[in-house]
Structure formats: structure tokens, C-alpha cells
């Protein structure tokens, strides 16, 4: 028997040696399948605004932060020497902020259904639990501060809680939460995190807040003192260039390499492209009635004003009002038009003050005007304040209601429309900012990320992925969250891919992209008030 033991022992030993672990010839998870090239991803620090923070659906919440583009990128960097990536996570998935127990920022939007089953964005119910006075301690790899403009990043005290309630506000509640100390600036904290690699994406809000306010702010080009700017103003391009180069210098001085992300056109986001400028449906009777009402204005008042030289012939044409059966352009008060309310009360027009007030800067929108998403809830509704006002002037209630339809008989205010003139101001500033970003990227040998082109691609046909096509259509397109401004997780995944591609190009690294089909789009929930 003994001499046959070997026949049994050899297979038994072989069995012991055979690995139970399946192993690839070339494993992606070990070794150097993916390479870092000339870059060092061991400590990646992302600097920016809400986009960098992972803000979405009008709020900052945990799953949004987990799907921030820097976090997505860091997970891919980990395949080529990337280290841990820490974020100043908020407390919940409700969104919203508290200051000493008082709510100071709204909950997130979710896609809810109304009683008829129609989907639409609504605020998630519940009380936020993130109190900005509970400061979390870093250093953090994600130094994205929602709401920050370019010059805010170099402003000391931007994280001082006292400044949140100051008037004007001098601090940012999101930065208060994680500033290393109340007098720190955002860029100081980013530098203190000691990056080996950084990304910088700032400047969006320098034009975006002007845009989302419907151009209610002021173009501050020529004003070099940002401390005098209002919240909705356009930042002077020289101010932008100055603070942006300070930031790049500070980050490069740490010895880090990095990527600079340029600024997309704010007017190609669903916030401006969802509500058509022809948003008013009218039946034939109503259209005829309105045409009759404005007939004298179109054929006598406007030509008369042009004849008197009060307005140009071009303005007279632009102010013509015309309604058809079907979709109609919205009526607006355009601040850039001549105010004719006084002159039409005099001879030969002799209009009453109410009508004169209505006509003062009245025009219909054209296809080059952009209607912000926030106007969607206003258009076509009857303005009860206006009704009450007209009744108080002795107008018959039925007439009063007819004359108080928002966007039709009652023109929308300037904040509800981003006119083509206002768009031009934004485009001018944007291209100057982008020239600065591009120049600093090449001067410092940094990767330049063309987010502007990427967003344009989303808005014009979309980006194909495994499982569909990502577009910037509101709700259905998949790229944007329900605030119409910030990306969805899938949109942030695309952002991460665009940045990774630029980094690979510049540094010769081979960081893999992510499969954006694995990332969520809008969040559905009926947990709303």
C-alpha cells in the first residue's frame, strides 16, 4: 500500500497548490494597468463652486456630493495611484441648510407627481438637519463652495458665520460649514490640503447669477472693486483675470499639477431652454379680441411715436403686438425700450394712465429671448394683485381678470426674461473669462478642459453612451438635475469624463472613463408637501 501513497499524495498536493482565486493575465485592479503619466494623483484637491461641490436639484445633499465630478474622478484616479478623497459631506439627503436651527436654504427638488399623475419638480418635504454652525474639520479634498464667484475664493472671512446674516452678506453658509477657521479663504484651505494634483472650475456664478435673475443685475465691467458688486451682477473681466491668476499661482506654488476648466455658455442650460418664447397658447377668438384691442396701438400710436422721433422706426416695429391662434410670444416689459408711459397720456394719444403704464416698455418676445424656468409657473396665470388693482380703479372684474394674464395682457417683468441684449453681455464676459483661463493653462502647462464645448454638445444633439443619448433637455434629457442649472449624477459623470480626457491628453496618463449609464438622472419621489 505504502508505495502507492505517492499516487494519492501527488494529486492531493497539487490540489493544495491550485489557486482557488481566479486571476487575470492583466488585472485592472493591481499593478500598472492604468498609468498616471507625468501626473501625481496621490492627493487630488478640487476647487470651485457648486458644480465642484456636487450641488444638484437646488441643494447640497449626500448622494449629490458622492456623485460630484471630483469624487467620480478620484475613484478613477485610484486606479493609477490616486489616494483617499474626502468631502465635507452634509448631514442628509433632504438638502437645505440650518443656521442655529433656522432654515436658510431650501430642500432639494425631486420629480413628484401631482393628483393627476403629471410629473413635475417639487421640493422634497422634511426638515434639513445640516446646521452650518456644526463645523466639520478637514482638510478636505473637495473644496467646492456653492454660490462662490471667482473673487470669493480669495476673500478672507468668506467662511465667517457672522457674515452670513450681515447685510450685505459677506460670507457663504456652505463655506462656514468647513472653513478651517473663520478668517480663512477658500484658496488658502485648498492650498493647505497640500495637493499633488488639483482642478479649478470657478467663474460660472460671475455670469450665471446675472442670467438666472433674468438680467436683473448690473454688468460691472469697468468697476474693479468687487466688494461693491450686487449678487446678480456680472464680474468685471479684469477682476476675474486678477483673482483667477492669484488662485492658479497659489495652487501651482504647492508644486501640484492640475486642470483648469473653462466656463460653459450659461444660456444652453435647461433653465433657459425649457420654456419656449412662444409659450402662450391662444384660441382664435381670444387672439382676434387681443388683436382688436391692440389694433389702434399698432397702427396709430407706434407709427405716431416714430414719426415724432420718440422712438426709432426699428423700435416701433419691435414693439408691434400680434396674436395668432396657437402658440404666441410672451409679452414683456423690456427695460431697454423707451419708456412711453408719459407721452402717450398726452395728445394726440390721450391714453388713460393704466393703459399707458401697460404700454410703457411693452413688447412681445422673439425667438432670441430666453425665458427662465422660474417663469414657467407664472406664465398664463391671472395675477390677483393686478386684478385687485384694476377693480379698485373701477374696472369691471371680468375685464380686470382678462387684463391680468401674466405674459399676455399683463407683461412679464424684466426678471422673467433674459433678453438678447442681456445675453450679449454674458457672452462677452464669458469669452473674456475663458481667454484668461486658456492663457493661464498654457502659461502653467496645465490641462485645459473645454466644458463649454461639452455643454454645447449636450444642447445640440446630445452625447451617446451605452444605453442612450444624454441631452440637456429638462427632466427627460438626463444630464441636468431638477434645478435646470446643475448636472444630474449622469451629467456630473460626463463632466468627470471630459476632465479626465483632458488630463490624459496633457499628462500622458491613461485614467479610464466612467460608464455614465451607471449614474442616475433625476430623482423621483412623491415625498413632497
Amino acid at each position: 500500500m505504502k508505495k502507492y501513497i505517492k499516487y494519492i499524495a501527488i494529486p492531493a498536493l497539487a490540489f493544495g497548490f491550485l489557486s482557488c482565486e481566479p486571476e487575470f493575465d492583466e488585472s485592472v485592479s493591481e499593478g500598472d494597468f492604468f498609468t498616471n503619466g507625468e501626473a501625481d494623483f496621490s492627493n487630488y484637491v478640487a476647487v470651485g463652486n457648486s458644480l465642484t461641490a456636487g450641488f444638484a436639484d437646488g441643494a447640497l445633499y449626500i448622494t449629490g456630493q458622492e456623485n460630484s465630478y471630483p469624487n467620480i474622478m478620484a475613484e478613477q484616479f485610484a486606479l493609477a495611484g490616486g489616494g483617499e478623497f474626502t468631502q465635507p459631506l452634509v448631514n442628509d439627503n433632504t438638502g437645505g441648510l440650518l443656521l442655529g436651527g433656522i432654515q436658510i436654504a431650501a430642500n432639494r427638488f425631486v420629480l413628484a407627481t401631482d393628483a393627476d399623475g403629471n410629473p413635475g419638480p417639487a421640493l422634497l418635504s422634511g426638515t434639513p438637519t445640516t446646521d452650518i454652525t456644526n463645523v466639520v474639520s478637514g482638510p478636505f479634498n473637495n473644496v467646492g463652495v456653492p454660490g462662490a464667484k471667482s473673487f470669493h475664493l480669495v476673500t478672507p472671512g468668506y467662511g465667517n458665520v457672522a457674515g452670513v446674516t450681515a447685510n450685505p452678506q459677506t460670507a457663504n453658509p456652505y463655506f462656514v460649514r468647513f472653513a478651517s477657521n473663520p478668517n480663512a479663504s477658500v484658496i488658502e484651505d485648498a492650498v493647505a490640503a497640500n495637493p499633488t494634483f488639483f482642478s479649478l472650475w470657478i467663474g460660472n456664478n460671475d455670469i450665471l447669477s446675472f442670467a438666472t435673475s433674468g438680467g436683473a443685475g448690473v454688468d460691472q465691467t469697468g468697476n474693479l472693486d468687487p466688494s461693491t458688486y450686487g449678487g446678480n451682477d456680472i464680474t468685471d473681466p479684469n477682476v476675474f483675470a486678477s483673482v483667477y491668476s492669484q488662485q492658479v499661482d497659489a495652487l501651482v506654488a504647492t508644486g501640484a499639477q492640475g486642470a483648469l476648466v473653462n466656463l460653459p455658455s450659461v444660456t444652453s442650460i435647461p433653465f433657459f431652454t425649457t420654456v419656449p418664447s412662444q409659450a402662450i397658447p391662444l384660441d382664435a377668438t381670444t387672439a382676434a379680441t387681443l388683436n382688436a384691442v391692440f389694433n389702434a396701438y399698432n397702427t396709430q400710436v407706434l407709427p405716431g411715436l416714430a414719426q415724432f422721433g420718440v422712438i426709432t422706426a426699428a423700435e416701433a416695429t419691435a414693439r408691434q403686438l400680434s396674436f395668432v391662434e396657437g402658440a404666441n410670444f410672451i409679452t414683456i416689459q423690456d427695460e431697454d425700450l423707451t419708456d412711453i408711459s408719459t407721452i402717450v397720456q398726452g395728445p394726440p394719444f390721450n391714453l388713460d394712465p393704466v393703459t399707458a403704464g401697460l404700454l410703457s416698455q411693452l413688447r412681445q418676445t422673439t425667438s432670441s429671448d430666453l425665458i427662465p424656468l422660474t417663469s414657467a409657473g407664472v406664465l398664463g396665470t391671472v395675477d390677483q394683485d393686478s386684478v385687485a388693482f384694476l377693480i379698485s380703479l373701477g374696472v369691471d372684474p371680468e375685464q380686470a381678470a382678462l387684463q391680468s394674464i401674466n405674459g399676455v395682457t399683463l407683461p412679464l417683468g424684466d426678471q422673467f426674461v433674459l433678453t438678447s441684449d442681456e445675453q450679449a453681455l454674458i457672452t462677452t464676459a464669458q469669452s473674456q473669462y475663458n481667454a484668461t483661463i486658456s492663457a493661464l493653462a498654457s502659461a502653467n502647462g496645465l490641462a485645459l478642459v473645454d466644458a463649454s464645448s461639452a455643454l454645447a454638445e449636450l444642447a445640440n444633439g446630445g452625447v451617446a453612451f451605452n444605453g442612450g443619448v444624454l441631452t440637456s433637455d429638462f427632466v427627460t434629457g438626463g444630464a441636468f438635475s431638477l434645478d435646470g442649472v446643475h448636472p444630474s449624477p449622469r451629467g456630473y459623470a460626463l463632466t468627470a469624463n471630459v476632465i479626465i480626457e483632458a488630463i490624459n491628453d496633457t499628462y500622458g496618463s491613461t485614467i479610464p472613463l466612467v460608464d455614465i449609464g451607471n449614474f442616475a438622472t433625476v430623482t423621483i419621489s412623491d415625498g413632497v408637501n
Binding site: P11, G467, D515, G517
Partner: protein
């Protein structure tokens, strides 16, 4: 007692995928050691599975074979485009068998077989890259079969067979899509669970002595298709982590469901040659009718019986062959040594490679021995090493909610090692 009980529980745990598809070719230690051949080998009660026609040829009146296997099997997945990778953390599988035959006369024998021919246990890390296809699956079947064996032509030709009671169980979890979550980001998923579904089938076999010296034997065996049908009330589908929304595909909670899974028919023909008392050679050819597995379709039912959600999963398996070779050498009376080899063709076609049964073609290398403790009792042991090549594969039939296909691609590498132990008793 406690120890015995826990071993017993462990044995009942489940079987693990072990051949093409979810066929587990581990039906006897003596057979496995010879490349899982046996349709033409008259050796032990293992014939109850391999070819019941041979039971009547066993020398003793009573023959019992009982045993089990420890299956150590894992699958690694990676995608070189996106850098995703994972490895299964599957528990040790423990398929078992029990066979007995009793000779009523020189021409007639009765038998009993209990075995686990189909099963699969694969556990991926929850929410891995392919979690919309499978997070975990535990599929098992137990066949219980009374048998007869009749020598029709003395010294020449016998037949055998019997009805099969198949008891099928399944527990399966997967995420509903690649991205649907509840408000806190927990992936929406479904678990289906159905246990002890009884179904019926049969097997028949025939054995021919080719020559007059009893050296050459030709065997044939057929085991029928058994469809395991889950009817409403047989099982429970539990949906979890769906968002609370009228727009969600289905509500959270328990639902009845219907499904059908085929346990395919299998033909085997084989030849054995025993030139003398020391040597035995065997060759088996299996042909499994996997084309019965066209699609795994589930209907989830509302309480009124209407379909709340359906899940269509094309499989489109093809029939598959296995080629088996084995040799036995008996240097002394107390010892039989065995080695074997087989090539196992996967029934999975290009584009249908679903990670729940991630099997490609494999080469099996087997070895083992029997040690005869005394005239009555023997210990049987076997080893199997299955070698899989790395394979680039995809499952192309996962559809997004809007019907757009989203193929799941990657490279798979499987490994499997099996050790088995059994006892044979004859009286």
C-alpha cells in the same frame, strides 16, 4: 450531536455551478475521478445515476454509494475600458448523492437515487458593476428517483430507468436597473425566493456487452427535460429600496410571481474497455439540450393577479456537448487509482453571457482513488481541477426603461477546484 447536525446542514446548503450552464456534473466520486464517465462502467451503485441499466450487473445483492463534494469556485470580472473589477465571494458548494440498488433476482434489480444535477451559487459584491443583472443567485435541485434494472438478454443487454421527482429551489437578487435608487441612494432591487417546487421527469438507460469476454461495454442513458414552473403562491418576490413615487416601476413589498426554468434533457453514450483486472478505460459523450433555455421571464403579480411588472431576460442557450475520458488502475486489491479528463462546452452563445452563470468552455482534470477497507466497505475520494480561459464576453439584452439596449461587457475568469469524499458499501 450538534456537530453532526451542523455538518448535515452544511451538506444541504446548496450546489454550485459546475459544468456548462447550471449543470453540476458531480454525481459520484468514482465517476468524477475518471472524468465523470460512467454510462458504460459497471463498478458501483453510482450507476443509479449514470446508467440504471447496469445496476442488475452489480455482483452484490445490496450496493450503496453515498458521498459529497466541496466545491471551491469563484469568478473574477473586469472591464478594461472603465476600470471596474470584482470577484465573487461564493460560499463553498456541497453537492451530495446517495445511490442504492437491491438485486431481486439475477435478472432484476431495484434502485434508488438521490442527487443534485443542477444548481448554481454565485455571490457578487452587492451593487457591483453588473448588479442590474445579478447580485446573487442560489439555484438548487434535488432529484429523487426510484429505479428498476432488467437484464433483457442474458449476458448481453439490459435496460433500466425510473421516474424522477425533482425539487427545485431558487433565491435570486438583483438591482432593478443601473441607476434607480431610493432618496438615500440605496439601489432598488428585487429578491425572488421560491423553495421546494416539485416537478416530474424520468431517465432511461441501456447497456450492451459487446463481446463475449465482458471486456467491451456500450452504454446509453437519457434524462428528460424538467421545467421548474413557479406558479403564483409558490414563491415571493420582494422589492426593496424603490423610491416612494407613482413614477416608480413597482411598489416596495412582496409580490407573487411566475417564472419557468428548464432543467435540460441530457443524452449520454459511452464505451468502456476492461482488458484485465488491473485496467479500465472509459469514454462518455454527453449532449445536453440547453436550447430549452430560451429566456428567463418573470411576471410580478398584483394582488388581483394582474401583471404589475415583467422581466424578460433572453438566454438563447445552445445545445452543448461534453467529452469525457477516464482510466482506472488497480495495482492491488485494496486500491483503485483513477485519473480522467473532460472538455465541457458552454451552452452560452456570444452576446448572451450573463454573469449569473458566467461559464465558458472548460477543461476538467480529475483524479482519485478508492481504498477498500474490507470486503464490504470502501472509501472513495476524488479531485477535480477545472481550467477556464479568460473570456471577453457581453450580455447584450439588458434594456433601459426606454427600450435602449445597454450591453454589459467585460472579461471573465473562472476557477474551480473540487474535492469529494464518499463511501461505498456492498453486501
Amino acid at each position: 450531536m450538534k456537530k453532526v447536525l451542523s455538518v448535515f446542514v452544511l451538506l444541504l446548503l446548496s450546489a454550485v455551478v459546475y459544468a456548462g450552464g447550471y449543470r453540476v456534473s458531480l454525481q459520484g466520486n468514482r465517476s468524477l475521478a475518471m472524468g465523470h464517465t460512467g454510462v458504460a462502467v459497471v463498478n458501483s451503485a453510482e450507476l443509479a445515476f449514470f446508467n440504471p441499466a447496469g445496476l442488475v450487473h452489480l455482483e452484490n445483492k445490496l450496493n450503496i454509494s453515498v458521498g459529497g463534494f466541496g466545491v471551491f469556485s469563484d469568478v473574477a470580472y473586469q472591464n478594461t475600458e472603465f476600470g471596474t473589477s470584482t470577484e465573487t465571494d461564493s460560499p463553498v458548494g456541497t453537492p451530495i448523492y446517495l445511490y442504492a440498488s437491491y438485486k431481486l433476482s439475477e435478472k432484476f434489480a431495484l434502485g434508488l437515487a438521490v442527487y443534485t444535477p443542477y444548481g448554481s451559487t454565485v455571490e457578487y459584491p452587492t451593487d457591483w458593476a453588473g448588479s442590474h443583472l445579478v447580485n446573487s443567485i442560489e439555484l438548487s435541485s434535488v432529484y429523487v428517483q426510484p429505479l428498476f434494472s432488467w437484464e433483457v438478454v442474458e449476458g448481453r443487454f439490459s435496460i433500466g430507468g425510473g421516474p424522477i421527482l425533482a425539487i427545485g429551489s431558487v433565491n435570486f437578487n438583483r438591482n432593478l436597473s443601473r441607476s434607480l435608487t431610493d432618496i438615500d441612494g440605496n439601489r432598488s432591487n428585487v429578491t425572488i425566493d421560491a423553495s421546494n417546487i416539485p416537478e416530474f421527469g424520468f431517465s432511461v438507460g441501456a447497456l450492451l456487452n459487446i463481446d463475449n469476454e465482458d471486456k467491451w461495454k456500450l452504454g446509453f442513458n437519457y434524462r428528460s427535460l424538467i421545467d421548474v414552473n413557479v406558479e403564483p403562491g409558490d414563491g415571493v418576490a420582494t422589492f426593496a429600496n424603490l423610491p416612494e413615487s407613482a413614477l416608480a416601476p413597482i411598489d416596495n413589498g412582496d409580490f407573487d410571481f411566475t417564472a419557468s426554468l428548464p432543467l435540460p434533457a441530457e443524452w449520454t453514450v459511452g464505451l468502456s474497455y476492461q482488458p484485465n483486472d488491473k485496467w479500465l478505460f472509459a469514454f462518455d459523450f454527453n449532449y445536453a439540450e440547453w436550447s430549452a433555455y430560451e429566456s428567463l421571464d418573470l411576471d410580478f403579480l398584483d394582488s388581483d393577479g394582474s401583471v404589475a411588472l415583467e422581466s424578460l431576460n433572453p438566454r438563447n442557450y445552445k445545445n452543448a456537448s461534453t467529452f469525457r475520458f477516464g482510466t482506472q488502475y488497480s495495482p492491488i486489491e485494496k486500491l483503485d487509482l483513477r485519473v480522467g479528463y473532460y472538455f465541457d462546452e458552454s451552452p452560452v452563445q456570444d452576446g448572451f453571457f450573463a454573469p449569473e452563470t458566467p461559464r465558458n468552455d472548460s477543461n476538467g482534470f480529475t483524479a482519485g482513488f478508492t481504498y477498500n477497507i474490507n470486503e464490504k466497505l470502501a472509501v472513495d475520494a476524488s479531485f477535480l481541477y477545472l481550467n477556464f480561459k479568460e473570456v471577453d464576453a457581453s450580455y447584450d439584452f439588458f434594456l433601459e426603461a426606454d427600450g435602449t439596449p445597454a450591453p454589459f461587457e467585460g472579461t471573465y475568469k473562472s476557477s474551480a477546484v473540487v474535492a469529494g469524499l464518499g463511501l461505498s458499501y456492498k453486501l
